[in-house]
C-alpha cells in the first residue's frame, strides 16, 4: 500500500499489519475498562488533517505507540508477545521511512499537527498509565483505518 501524506509518499504492508493486529484485537480490547472514552477520536483523524501536516501527525502517533504503548503493554502470552513485536517492528519501519521525508523537508510540523497530537496526548494522559496503554493498543484498528484512508 502507498501512503500519501502531503508530499511525503511511502509504501507499507498495511494488510499484513492489519492481519497481525486482528489476531490479538479481541483479547486486547476485552481488557479495556474505559469503554466510554476514546483516545483517537474521529475529529483528530489523519485523513481529516491538512495534507501538509499529515506526515508530522503520523510520526508523532507512531512514536506514541513505540515509546509508550508497545513498550509498556504487559503480557506473558508468547503469541501476543510475538504479535506485539511484529507490530512494533513494522511501525519502526514506517517511522524510518517518514524520517527520510523529514530529511527531505517534506514532513512539516504545522499548527494543526501540534494541536491534534496535543489532544491525543491529553486523552492518553487522562487515563491511568496502564489503562491508557491498553486502550490505545485496542484502538490500533482505528489508527490503521486512518492509514488506510490516506492510501
Amino acid at each position: 500500500k502507498t501512503l500519501r501524506l502531503g508530499s511525503c509518499v511511502i509504501s507499507t504492508n498495511l494488510q499484513k499489519i492489519q492481519s497481525t493486529f486482528s489476531e490479538i484485537r479481541d483479547s486486547v480490547q476485552a481488557e479495556d475498562r474505559n469503554i466510554d472514552t476514546r483516545i483517537l477520536s474521529k475529529s483528530l483523524s489523519l485523513q481529516d488533517t491538512e495534507p501538509s501536516d499529515q506526515c508530522c501527525l503520523l510520526r508523532r502517533v507512531l512514536r506514541l505507540y513505540l515509546e509508550r504503548v508497545f513498550k509498556n503493554y504487559q503480557t506473558s502470552d508468547p503469541h501476543t508477545l510475538r504479535k506485539i513485536s511484529s507490530l512494533a517492528n513494522s511501525f519502526l519501519t514506517i517511522l524510518k521511512d517518514l524520517r527520510l521525508c523529514h530529511d527531505r523537508k517534506t514532513c512539516h510540523c504545522g499548527e494543526e499537527a501540534a494541536e491534534k497530537y496535543g489532544q491525543i496526548l491529553s486523552h492518553f494522559e487522562e487515563l491511568a498509565p496502564q489503562a491508557a496503554v491498553v486502550k490505545t493498543l485496542g484502538e490500533l484498528d482505528i489508527f490503521l483505518q486512518w492509514l488506510e484512508e490516506t492510501s
Binding site: 509504501s11 504492508n13 499484513k16 497481525t20 513505540l66 515509546e67 508497545f70 513498550k71 508468547p78 508477545l81 510475538r82 513485536s85 511484529s86 512494533a88 517492528n89 513494522s90 511501525f91 519502526l92 519501519t93
Partner: protein, 204 residues
C-alpha cells in the same frame, strides 16, 4: 534452577533464501544424550526500546535439531538478533547470541523454476511455488526480429497462467524473475524457454 554446565551452542548463523530464513548452530554433543535447544529473538524495536526482552521463537517447543526455521519470527525489514541455549535434563547452558544481526533484505533470491508449455494455440507458463512473500515478473515475446517484449505480474506460483494466444508456425519465448515487494528486490531472470506452434505461418 539448572546450573549452566552445558556448553552454549556455537557458530550461530542465518541462511536465507527466497525469504525463508533458517537459523543454524553447531550442535552441543554429550555422548548418548539428546540435547534440546531453545531459540529466542529480538527485533530492532526490542533492541532499541526493550533491550532486556527476548521473545520465544514461533518454533518455541524445545528443538532437538541444531536448526530452526525463523521465517515467521521475521515479519519486518529491520535487524533481528537471535539467541540459542542448550538443555539436558535440568542442566541449561548460557545463551549464545548471533554474532551479526540479520535483516531479511539480505535474503538470496533465485530465479524461479519455470515450465512453458502450449495448450492448443495458447502459451502457458507454470512457476515454482516459493511461498507467500514472493511474486513473479514474467517477460514473454514472439521470437522474431525487433520483437516486442510484454510482461505480466503473477502473484503466486504453482498454477498455470495463460500468457498469450500463438499463431501457427511462430516461436514464442518467456523468462521469469522473482519479486519481493517487502524488501523491494528482484532475482535474476530464469533461462529462456520457447514453444512453437506447428503449421504454416499465416500469410501477411
Amino acid at each position: 534452577d539448572g546450573v549452566a554446565v552445558l556448553p552454549a551452542p556455537q557458530n550461530l548463523s542465518v541462511h536465507s533464501t527466497n525469504m525463508k530464513h533458517i537459523l543454524t548452530w553447531s550442535p552441543v554433543v554429550v555422548p548418548g544424550q539428546t540435547i534440546y535447544y531453545s531459540v529466542q529473538y529480538q527485533g530492532e524495536y526490542e533492541s532499541l526500546y526493550l533491550s532486556h526482552m527476548w521473545i520465544p521463537s514461533h518454533w518455541d517447543s524445545p528443538i532437538a535439531k541444531p536448526e530452526c526455521d525463523v521465517t515467521d519470527d521475521i515479519t519486518a525489514t529491520v535487524w533481528y538478533n537471535f539467541r540459542v541455549s542448550a538443555t539436558l535434563g535440568s542442566q541449561t547452558s548460557a545463551w549464545s547470541i548471533l554474532e551479526h544481526p540479520f535483516n531479511r533484505n539480505s535474503t538470496v533470491l533465485t530465479p524461479p523454476k519455470t515450465e512453458v508449455t502450449k495448450d492448443g494455440s495458447h502459451m502457458v507458463i507454470e512457476l515454482e511455488d516459493l511461498g507467500p512473500h514472493l511474486e513473479f515478473n514474467v517477460v514473454y515475446w514472439r521470437s522474431e526480429p525487433d520483437a516486442e517484449e510484454r510482461s505480466k505480474l503473477i502473484k503466486n506460483g504453482g498454477i498455470s497462467v495463460h500468457l498469450q494466444t500463438m499463431e501457427p508456425g511462430a516461436k514464442y519465448c518467456a523468462k521469469a524473475q522473482t519479486l519481493v515487494k517487502a524488501i523491494e528486490r528482484r532475482s535474476a531472470f530464469s533461462r529462456v524457454e520457447c514453444v512453437e506452434v506447428e503449421g504454416e505461418a499465416l500469410p501477411l
